[in-house]
Symmetry: C2
Subunit: 255 residues, 2 copies
DNA sequence: TAGTGGTCTAGACCACTTC
DNA sequence: AAGTGGTCTAGACCACTAT
């Protein structure tokens, strides 16, 4: 519990290392208070900013969370929801549930959704590419925010060609039982295949506020393309809180 | 280009916001110099730490990278490699290539691997669970670091039951053409199915140094289970640099 | 009201890079 | 040698939380 001046590591790093060890060992459990900056200043004999830099490092690692005026606490891990490929099954749709909703309810979590926008926009380049249409062609965008237990966890934008969704509930707030995919199938677009692409990155400030992310939380950007036999029917892009989702895929050994 | 005192946002935030806007607009391109702290101090009339906090915020977002003594620069995005499920195909193995190697060469990147450890260890709980053996049973662990263009990008640990790998090249440094999976199939463990699970999170300090990650880089933790008809044959856990990998999965619409 | 996190200023020293 | 990022000290003020 002291600073080693001969150690090439900075004092702040040494303090962070010691706190991290205590947290990893479990002596400080999730939800427990981390020593306050003033306590650190006294026990280690350092200035305020040095103590603060130590806490900041742990925040960046996602180990610690701070509440202004209240203190610093070992971060509680939120319940994770596992997103598997079976969420796109027809059985789920026939049960009247949207894909995400099905996973949430399996995990015993309440699910809700907010529509942020229903609009006709020029197709972004990557969307146009999948639809094989000229960039800038008008497409329908359905932007929404998904909440688990009332907490925002996903920002998702679906894109459709206009002729596919015109006159369907997909252009309405409420897409009806089974979600948008159920409506597509009713219109004769039988979904045959899905492609998902995932990437992990830091959130933008906009995403931090929209998903109420705390520092040290990453984000997964998920792109999905839903195919009928005729080709891509829906192109979807979403951003999910990294600490609340895992993704599972099972597949046969390819030839 | 000034601080608005009436703005509730802190001066550091305002500076970060303005720099971010310039970067996003493309006026500052990847590789370009970001104004130095002393320049920011002068143009905005703030103290050193304030300028520094602004740069720090952008570093945390992965937008900016600093080189000690040299300056701060808009981060160059490293080439992304896409990992698709076809990398496990028998055709790849028969071609004498390991799964990751195949993807790398498709992307035109040089590939290499370092063995960090070949050891017999008590099975971690989650490994024991997949193998359906008592926790703590001895298993063989093969720990390695994968490099693309000489840069470390993946830390991977494979676990096998002892009776599966004893006497095979899997216990050697060099597993031979086609990698470990080729050896498993030679031994009669025909691979039928794979399961992959992904999660996104902040790297630990150990991972930061092993993968030479810069601040603002996330990691993906990938778990894979390779099944033969008799059950799990290999359990694999790896950590990959989030800014260098995307993951792609394609699947039929489930019933 | 006392303690806490959050931010800022001002000044200092170091190690590194660039020229 | 000049400029840069990185860290530290010391002291200040604010807004928020807990009691």
């Amino acid at each position: 519990m002291a600073i080693d001046q001969s150690d090439p590591k900075s004092p702040a790093q040494q303090i962070a290392d010691q706190l991290r060890a205590v947290i990893r060992s479990g002596d400080l459990a999730p939800g427990d208070r981390v020593p306050s900056t003033s306590q650190l200043m006294e026990t280690y004999g350092v200035a305020y900013q040095t103590a603060r830099n130590a806490i900041d490092a742990l925040k960046g690692e996602g180990l610690v969370e701070t509440r202004k005026g209240a203190g610093a606490f070992v971060r509680r891990l939120p319940p994770m929801i596992r997103l598997g490929s079976d969420r796109y099954s027809r059985a789920v749709r026939d049960g009247g549930k949207a894909p995400f909703q099905a996973e949430a309810e399996t995990a015993g979590l309440t699910w809700s959704q907010e529509i942020l926008a229903l609009e006709t926009v020029p197709a972004p380049a990557w969307v146009a590419e999948w639809f094989d249409i000229p960039a800038g062609t008008e497409v329908f965008a359905r932007r929404r925010r998904t909440l688990l237990e009332g907490v925002p966890t996903q920002l998702g934008d679906s894109y459709y060609r206009l002729e596919v969704v015109e006159g369907t509930a997909i252009m309405q707030e409420d897409t009806g039982p089974g979600g948008g995919y159920a409506r597509l199938e009713e219109r004769g677009h039988k979904l045959t295949r899905f492609r998902e692409e995932l990437a992990s990155r830091q959130p933008t400030p906009e995403e931090v506020s929209a998903l109420r992310l705390s520092r040290g939380t990453t984000v997964v950007e998920l792109h999905r393309i839903a195919f009928s036999e005729a080709g891509p029917v829906e192109v979807f892009r979403s951003v999910l809180a990294g600490d609340r989702h895992t993704f599972a895929y099972e597949f046969e050994a390819p030839a």
